[in-house]
Symmetry: C2
Subunit: 117 residues, 2 copies
DNA sequence: CAACAATATATCGTTGTACGATAGATGTCA
DNA sequence: TGACATCTATCGTACAACGATATATTGTTG
């Protein structure tokens, strides 16, 4: 029941995370995954089977654009933000802040009401 | 595409909100919905078709327990936290904090890297 | 050199939650 | 009486995240 909580938590905020990574500069899937997992520690285990469809979705939405790189032996698909993607980060970050504020508004009195342990 | 973001955001954190409301005392569905919507403003539009299955799920999990009240003309199903429910709020609240900290860790440098507008 | 781990992208079926629509019942107020 | 708010509930749909699996290349180690 608790793994479920962790898993469902990421719905909707995962794309914001990926866009955030790309705000630091162009990047490709495998490294994006590493970066998110590094920051997320045991909280966020971003799967490849989640990330790649997510990237395709963001590209279809026009938030990012891609380019294959065959110069090295191992081919990589680089992604970078579009102007729309940058706008999207800003609006979604604002929404995220408002959303967490709502939760905090419910959570703070709740924890205070709970017996000390 | 932005409504999707709002909708998907709630996945996984909605049950924590409902549990939080119940931490302030026993309550019934309709009022729980009102409370969450009041706090949520335009961010959180909790639907009845979402809430009632959610309550049933929490009860099946043993986090809450219910009791019908027929004393008034309009019948109401009152819910209250169980001991397991109180534990669950504490653990999920801690997870929530850690999760939002992760997002913030990605978001802050991202917003700093973005052109001023 | 062979075996194995890491790098790199991708697809597929399953699961589960939130939504909107719908239903049905009671109470209040004009 | 008719409209509206209260109150609980179910059903089909949409869709994101998961785990498994596939495939291919590069690096490491016995």
């Amino acid at each position: 029941m608790n793994e479920r909580f962790e898993r469902e938590l990421m719905r909707g905020s995962l794309d914001l995370m990926v866009l955030s990574v790309l705000a630091d500069g162009a990047n490709y899937g495998y490294l994006i995954q590493k970066r998110v997992r590094d920051v997320g520690g045991d909280m966020i285990k971003l799967q490849a089977g989640t990330l790649y469809p997510l990237l395709h979705r963001l590209e279809a939405d026009g938030a990012i654009r891609s380019k294959w790189d065959h110069s090295t032996g191992r081919k990589r698909k680089w992604y970078e933000l579009t102007a729309a993607g940058r706008r999207r980060i800003r609006t979604q970050a604002a929404q995220w802040d408002r959303y967490t504020a709502c939760i905090q508004q419910l959570l703070t009195p709740a924890l205070a009401a709970l017996p000390v342990k």
